[in-house]
Amino acid sequence: MAVTKETLESIARAGKPRARWLQATYDFARQRPLGAIGAMMILVMVLVALTANWLAPYDALTTDYGAMLSAPNAQHWLGTDTFGRDVYSRMVFGSRTALIVGLGASFIGATFGALIGVASAYFGGRIDMIVQRIMDVLISFPLIILALAVVAILGTGLQNVIFAIAIPMIPRCARVVRSSALAVREMPYVDAARAAGFTDARIVLRHMLPNVMAPYLIMLTAFLGQAILLEASLSFLGLGVQEPVAAWGLMLRGAAIEFAETAPWMGFFPGLAISLAVFGFNLFGDSLRDALDPRLRTQ
């Protein structure tokens, strides 16, 4: 690649990256306090997930029939569930499941979606037409229904739930990214790269993909919250992550609902955790969207 003014600039900037990041972060926080609050909430969640082993006083899976259904007390800060498992510890470990499902599903969904969208825009013509029709077909299936079908085929379990949530996201992301990529395709440097004889794969991956980062990131953050919620919904229908894994969605269903009045702590706290986590992701995503591209509106 020829040395351009931009690359020189970026090399020059590389000397003091920290200051630039700090500045950007500071600007973001000052201009968008809601986004900053969201980011804080995400950060807390990530920290909890990383330090779960230290934060949790009990193992998430150990049952203790002697202590079943205890109300919050000194030993069990948020009480215990029907198997005498510590609700607080299960919540702390559950943050891992939520993050793995949320990040995994939205990353897979958004990335595959972006790739398909960019490739479709790049090749154009008949290929674009066919890909768009396939995406139309997928998008016409309601989200939860497609997820239901995928779980039915693949079976339950953590990885399969991630796929089940990711697959319906692919066409949604592909559609948004494609419309941005259509504009990128007309850019002179893409023509130049083509003239230089680069392979299609290289042009798509190296030249076009980086230029649709804004819609990609927006879709990614928007999916994060949705993925966590969808996991909870699938769990509620009995199709999500399975017991005895510690997961918020699981903690909310079954016994938590049966005992909603007599042992409200079982379901209340995990419900709160889900709401706060999704709230944080959405708050952050919303502001990120404003910051990156105020004109990108339709999904």
Binding site: L148, I153, D290, R297
Partner: protein, 317 residues
């Protein structure tokens, strides 16, 4: 214009056909079949011989292409066939559920619109003030709560505080509007609140854009609310994406309220879908997916046409 509409109209059919092929194949890939569900799930004696007779009766022993062409042939005559599980015509299975889902979708859309438009305008006009933040927090909070959790909390609250429960059985609005609303208003509120979030944000950004228009900026001296009145014309165009979002969400509501219907014990399309798939009722699942997808595809078509009508450039894209 006519040419564009025709082209766009014809494009709906390959999509629908694709949906039909996809659901047909998906269902056959899903493990388990209706006869197993029917005869083994109850913990009583079941013999392979009996199940073979039942499979033959349902035509499940025929090759896939034959099953598919039979289905397609029926569809061409607008005949959805009979449900494999109940043996009743699918139109009969759908009638009541469709009415309920349609009404709930309409009510939820009304709730969402009534929340989204004023809140979005308010947030835009008061951009970056605490009012703006409060509106955004309120709408994002709606997106964040698991809908079944919100539903269960609502029902418990009604039971504990008012010692009252909404009616369990759907009564058509035309038969008894009071009874009908007493049942559907709660899920409509829960769903509408949730779905207002996206529309609110769309409304807000559309409004912001309008407010940035030059001739409105010059009217600053005349006061904010007057600006709004001035911008009525501009607002009409800005509303398009808002209407699109509301339209698409309406389409999703028709079949996507699986969890809400379960919590509020509503006899709608979403629950029917879950049931059909858990029974491996191929014919019913296929019909449901086609109907829900048709609604979605049609709403999409209608918004595209609306866009093209308002913005002629699109037609030549």
């Amino acid at each position: 214009m006519t040419h564009y509409i025709l082209k766009r109209f014809l494009l709906m059919f390959p999509t629908l056909f694709g949906v039909a092929v996809l659901i047909f194949l998906l269902l056959r890939v899903v493990p388990g079949d209706i006869v197993e569900v029917r005869f083994m799930a109850q913990g009583q004696y079941s013999s392979e011989a009996v199940m073979a007779i039942e499979r033959a009766k349902l035509g499940l022993d025929k090759p896939l292409w034959q099953q598919f062409t039979t289905w397609m042939w029926g569809l061409l005559h607008l005949d959805f066939g009979v449900s494999m599980w109940t043996g009743a015509p699918i139109t009969e299975e759908l009638k009541l559920r469709f009415e309920l889902s349609l009404q709930l979708a309409i009510m939820a859309t009304v709730v969402a619109t009534l929340l989204a438009i004023p809140l979005g305008i308010l947030a835009a006009v008061k951009q970056d003030t605490w009012i703006d933040y409060a509106v955004r927090v309120f709408s994002i909070a709606g997106l964040a709560m698991p809908s079944f959790w919100l539903g269960i909390l609502m029902i418990l609250a009604m039971l504990i505080i008012f010692k009252w429960l909404p009616p369990m059985v759907f009564t058509s609005f035309w038969v008894n509007p009071w009874e009908n609303l007493a049942q559907l208003i709660w899920p409509a509120l829960a769903v509408g609140y949730r779905y207002s979030a996206v529309a609110t944000r769309m409304m807000r950004s559309a409004m912001l854009e309008v407010l940035r228009e030059d001739y409105i900026r010059t009217a600053r001296a005349k006061g904010l609310w007057l600006k709004l009145i001035l911008s009525r014309h501009a607002l009409k165009n800005a509303m398009l994406p808002v209407i699109t979002v509301i339209g698409l969400e309406f389409a999703f509501l028709m079949g996507g309220l699986v969890v809400t219907e379960q919590v509020f014990s509503l006899n709608g399309l979403g629950m029917l879908f879950v049931e059909a798939i858990s029974h491996r009722d191929y014919t019913l699942t296929q019909a449901l997916v086609l109907i829900v997808a048709s609604v979605f595809i049609f709403v999409n078509f209608a918004t595209d046409i609306a866009y093209a009508w308002l913005d002629p450039r699109i037609r030549y894209r």
